[in-house]
Assembly symmetry: C2
Homo-oligomer: 821 residues x 2
């Protein structure tokens, strides 16, 4: 198919890191004025809102008008227009005589092509008993040429980075907030007027609707009353909602075409639609009469804006207590949730939550999601925006459709990508389900069937025989493993806090559980820890260390002295297991045991274990729900441990952290053990939303995005590895910290265990809580696993951001160390 | 907050039922030309594509130009323009002398205000050895006034229903297909040019992008090269993708503003962007030179369109065999999937799939999803479109965010709606998970804890005690029940085909399973069937019938003769159950047992059972995964059986059939049994995507939509019931059919059991297969449960559609009866 030549895009311009977190104060209403096209009257609307706020006694108001991007300057200046109109309006009407208006208009940054400077102040003193109001007009950046900012910026050599623009805007917001410290909420008002249409590019080329997204300021959309304007208005509205903005009202100029009818109908009465009188076309008209004739509409609009603002504030304040009353959180002892401990997440932008910070300061502030929302997250802001479009498309195209014996594009594409990626070289079949736990239950059923067929437990497949229980099947698994919370998945893991009678009276633990040797870094050195059960004789093995992490994963360790130690231990255990029970599957998390406390199992041990099982025709299941899709720096942990499973389970990050979807991948040999003449021999397992289109589409996008160097700058040139994300020096420094027991660092994961004893150690420990509370103040959201804490970034996260996280963690460790001693 | 007065919208104009299924032939390329605004040159692009197709020897081509909606007629006529320009272009260039061009231009339907008629034909005979091509231009509907079609239609009294317009368009497509029977694919071409912008209203007021959606024709977007045009083009593109259209190329007129740069960057090189030379503005210019200068661009565009078409055809043909190779379908014996039995679902529009019908006829055709895709579906087309927008918004705003100890708007709103709806009167807490099966596992854990606390099995909550197993806990459940496929859910159901060693070697069946009395209709009468175990003495009870279905659900039956029979049976069973095992929960599907074969359990029996358990402090779980959210004509089956659970599980239809989400609702008393000082006493269960924002948002929309008479016309005035969807006469007729054993009809469900014996009965039976195969030819997609078949519509589906389904079913039953005897 025809394609234009590849254009290299600077993908990081969109959300390049700002030096300060971008906070949106909520102390007073702040709105963005968007246009469904250029020339639809955004500035008239801004001026109208200003007039309605400033020239309506009795209250004295501070009104901030912000124009971030002005081209065609100085002949065009929207902020000057607002400034002038307000002064004219104040003077025109006798009713305004009592109002003392102080107005200013400034341009903060100029393109070098622009010689004009603009800095005007006027004071109009009112009569006795006056109301003192203030209009503050600001243009943040101005260019001379009357073209789109991205062109003007390029042509005039005055390019402004997105981060710089956002920081300047943030400063304006702080000023808005400061200007209102002694005022009630509605006495300060701010509107930010964008340039052109909603998706017109800013100076860097980023579309404005993407550019301003981190603030997610509530929106007023100025629609188009002309012929074709219904379509343009609706499409602009959709572009805004497709970026997560809340559009509070639509307003447009009447052109006699009754465009409001279809617009009303479209928004189903959920967003107010306002119509302004026709604007006189004569350029000499000073619009004073028009503004007066529009006064009631602008008053309406202002009221709508105020009430939406108050509604939002009210909701944000009420949500924590409402949630406490009716929500039952997973893995949460509700009695231990501290007062004020419920956090309102207002939105997400890439790796960051936007949270409503405590009830006093009233700001929306970013918080790095360092637990990756239970390890599901991977997207940066750009990927999230694209995923959102794909989700809208897929919902509209498919919703969800029936899967068995049917096929649809997202499911087929997803299955192909899985087999070309994580299942490459061994996987042949993809079975979709909803989450890691169901993927594991399915994997176990697959493995047991394969084992039963291979070991003659199902002599023939007469249907009468289906209910005969010929043997007690068990799994071989590792201590500290975790595979999910449904009963089947639980049965495959060793007894733990999760599995007691209090939690699941039906749990029995149907496994033979081995204690694996593990690897970690301490004091700048990777070393190995071998459980006593191994009873090795060569005592030197106790002190094995590695020069580098790469050495741990090296295949040549197959010839090391440890290999026969592992082999003989495993053989001994397996041959000692006799009786009516049979080991019918090996199940394990390759390399990293996640929930069990972020332990790195010696990959050599796992490889030998797999080989021993294979020799005994015991099917091997890899639980890659956590480890899959670049979590560990490679697409699949198979690449790290150099041996393949018969069955593997995927979930979490597979959909880029959007929605639940899981996949169990199997070999043809496993699949074949379900083939027969009767439906009863088939795998009779399935969930309602099997292979749902949106999940599959999200997975298709994510799998491709993460491994494509064009979209993921962390992919190394060979394309099989992520570059190192965690700064070596900081890692070493932390690993040498006196409060730290061990460190595990690999791919997107940085974990550490705090030195702790007694009740301070283990899953139920609250030991790490004060440390994490401090880090939350620093803008880092972490969740502990008892006394183990970790940072988890996305596969696209820049090493700079990771380093900032490490620095913050180290600083807080220093304090923590102090207070715990 | 300020709101405009409610406007009543005719919500059914969008997708009113057409008399014929709307099929899109794929034998030749058909495209829609959309504009990002009015006046951006859609007609020039159409003419350009026509020229490129017709005037490029060597092949002889039939080119169909279709303009469905023309306003401003006769002074404006886009089809006349295309007609004239093509004739001019043919005559102008000597190279074209060999081409014999036969061209026609017709207008099919006129507004009464339009007196002009247009029906022109011209033949231009080419030189010796000519190529004979044909241009067929058609306007489907024309209005006089040069305004949006919805205004013209109203003002001229010539309103065209969406269904009529779609049917006329469908006829055009049939003609396209017929005109090409003797031609290769690329020798016939069709473009459909829309009116105005993508979201401009059609004659009924429906937005054109919604109106044409059932065909989902691939799109060419004519963008805007002017100032502000980047934004308009991107927004229009997003409106199309947000309705599930595939945009194959973007093309626009150059205005010197380099709009292609940002557009390239936006589509990330995945959609070609083409730039046309500036169009001369002089109205007297005949554009011949412009067309010649644009020839290479249009040739490019045509090639892009052709190759996308061929790619689509290729994919559709290949998908079934690819799927067979790598997909592992749930509940499917792959060996029994017949050749040609894999169906490609190209999209969904409301209750209908759009499938690629067999490989010969090559059409995309609708198929009513009568299995509601495993009972998940509810939305009509309009609801699906709105849900799609909400999905885009929520993905952009939240993606997914961490839930424990946090709160976000969709989760809180969803929980509130659940407690005000299905949980009203008893539920206090909402625990989110991913699917019915996980919701059940959670419910069981809740019930067991509650029971253990109430019955002193956990004497105190010292953590040391957590692993002591003080008793063997079991459930009380019904035969033929089904609660999901994970082990815990399976353990709570009676042994069946799903539970044997072949399927799940770990299944033991940890329940006491009762055979419930059931109710069904046969030969026009509702009657009751009581299992032998009840050993009732009053033999008259054997012949109980009901005058109406309502009678079955009436509370006064508490005083009927059956009540003490049920009571004493239950008491006997419960008191007979002794030993170390304890019945620690009752679990059942209220009213209808779904997977077990669509059996209606006598609601009186279930009510008495609940009461008996409550008296014994045994927690009661309702599995409403199938029965919830209007499936049975009420929001919750609690309203049918007049008794409340302690815990209830929801899934499937809760999200409107979009994506997986489940909820377990519980009383405060249940919740309280998890409160304590230790985390280990909390409910340590959770899934990665707990309360994911998109699922919660879809649920919020769906719960509101289904119960709002404004959006759901099936809601009766009292708001607690759906109106009767299944035609009484047809139901009676079918229930009296000789092939029918029993009928169950309630809410959105119509089920029947075919009379069958031996291997023909039961889950693995293929008995119903030929009947369902025939119904598929009639446009109805059903899936059997052995010899039980059913129709499932959505809560908003019109009774007319339901009746059509019943008529088709009856007709095929007549044949089926014939061939099986």
């Amino acid at each position: 198919m025809y394609r234009f030549p590849t254009i290299l895009l600077s993908r990081h311009r969109l959300y390049s890191t700002t030096s300060q977190p971008l906070e949106l104060p909520l102390s007073h209403p702040i709105y963005t004025i968007w246009g469904s096209n250029t020339g639809v009257g955004k500035t008239l609307v801004s001026a109208g809102i200003a007039a309605s706020s400033l020239l309506s006694p009795p209250s004295s108001v501070k009104f901030h008008y912000v124009k971030p991007l002005q081209t065609g300057f100085p002949s065009d200046s929207d902020s000057r227009f607002v400034f002038n109109k307000l002064l004219q309006l104040r003077n025109r009407n006798n009713n305004n005589a009592r109002i003392s208006l102080s107005a200013s208009n400034r341009v903060l940054n100029f393109s070098p092509a622009t010689t004009a400077r603009e800095n005007e102040i006027q004071h109009l003193v009112g009569e006795e008993g006056f109301i003192s109001s203030e209009l503050i007009c600001k243009t943040l950046y101005a260019w001379e040429e009357a073209v789109s900012p991205h062109l003007a910026a390029e042509r005039e050599g005055f390019v402004v980075k997105d981060s710089a623009l956002l920081e300047t805007l943030q400063k304006c917001f702080s000023e808005v907030s400061e200007s209102g410290v002694d005022k009630v909420r509605s006495e300060v008002f701010c509107v930010v007027e964008t340039a052109g249409g909603v998706a017109s590019p800013g100076p860097s080329g980023s579309l404005q609707c993407d550019l301003y997204r981190p603030f997610r300021i509530p929106a007023i959309l100025v629609g188009d009353g002309r012929l074709g304007g219904i379509s343009g208005t609706i499409s602009a509205y959709e572009s805004l909602t497709l970026r997560g903005y809340d559009v509070v009202a639509i307003i447009f100029e009447d052109h006699g075409l009754l465009n409001e009818g279809p617009l009303f109908s479209y928004v189903r009465n959920k967003v107010p639609v306002l119509v302004l009188p026709p604007v006189p076309k004569d350029p000499s008209n000073d619009l004073m009469e028009w503004f007066e004739g529009s006064h009631y509409v602008f008053n309406n609009l202002k009221e709508i804006m105020l009430s939406a603002y108050f509604e939002r504030i009210k909701k944000l304040h009420e949500m924590p207590s409402k949630a406490r009353d009716i929500i039952w959180w997973p893995f949460t002892q509700h009695k231990l949730v501290p007062d004020g401990g419920v956090m309102v997440i207002d939105s997400r932008c890439g790796e960051n939550f936007a949270v409503f910070k405590d009830q006093k300061t009233e700001v929306i502030t970013p918080l790095f999601d360092a637990c990756a929302s239970w390890w599901t997250q991977g997207p940066d802001a750009k990927m999230q925006a694209e995923l959102a479009r794909d989700m809208g498309y897929t919902a509209a195209r498919f919703g969800h459709v029936m899967f068995p014996e049917n096929i649809h594009e997202p499911a087929l594409n997803c299955a192909e990508l899985l087999l070309q990626g994580v299942g490459k070289g061994w996987g042949s079949r993809v079975f979709f389900s909803d989450n890691g736990s169901t993927a594991i239950e399915i994997a176990l059923k697959m493995a047991f069937r394969k084992f039963s067929v291979d070991h003659g437990l199902i002599l023939d497949c007469h249907e009468d025989a289906t209910n005969e229980r010929s043997a007690e099947l068990m799994v071989l698994a590792l201590h500290r493993s975790y595979h999910g919370d449904t009963l089947g998945a639980m049965e495959a893991q060793a007894p733990s806090s999760y599995t007691g009678f209090l939690q699941q009276p039906w749990y029995t633990g149907r496994g033979l559980f081995l204690s694996p040797p593990s690897v970690s870094m301490y004091n700048n050195k990777w070393s190995i820890s071998i459980p006593e059960e191994f009873q090795w004789e060569n005592k030197e093995l106790e002190n094995i260390t590695f020069a580098s992490r790469a050495e741990i994963f090296h295949r040549c360790r197959d010839n090391s002295e440890l290999a026969p130690v592992y082999s003989s231990y495993i053989s001994k255990v397996l041959s000692g297991f006799r009786g009516s029970s049979k080991i019918a599957a090996l199940i394990m998390e390759p390399v990293i045991q996640g929930s069990g406390g972020m332990h790195m199992v010696d990959p050599l041990f796992q490889r030998i274990l797999v080989n021993e099982c294979r020799n005994r025709k015991i099917p091997v299941i890899f639980d890659e729900v956590f480890t899959g899709f670049w979590r560990l720096g490679v697409e699949t942990a198979v690449d790290l441990i150099h041996c393949e499973p018969d069955i593997a389970c995927y979930g979490k990050l597979m959909t880029g952290g959007m929605i639940p979807l899981a996949a169990t991948i199997a070999t043809d040999a496993v699949f074949d053990s379900f083939i027969g003449d009767s439906k009863l021999k088939a795998l009779l397992h399935g969930h309602s939303y099997s292979a749902h289109a949106m999940g599959c589409m999200a997975a298709v996008k994510s799998i491709q995005w993460f491994k494509d160097p064009f979209s993921n700058p962390n992919i190394t040139s060979e394309g099989r590895l992520l570059r190192e994300l965690w700064d070596d020096k900081m890692v070493h420094k932390i690993s040498s910290h006196s409060a730290v027991e061990r460190v595990v660092v690999l791919g997107t994961l940085f974990a550490l265990e705090l030195k702790a004893e007694g009740d301070n150690a283990g899953y139920a420990s609250l030991y790490a809580r004060p440390l994490l509370q401090k880090l939350r103040e620093d803008g880092v959201y972490m969740r502990p696993l008892g006394n183990v804490i970790y940072l988890l970034c996305g596969p696209c996260t820049s090493p700079e951001i990771c380093n900032q996280l490490l620095v913050k963690l180290y600083e807080r460790l220093e304090e923590f160390d102090g207070c715990s001693n």
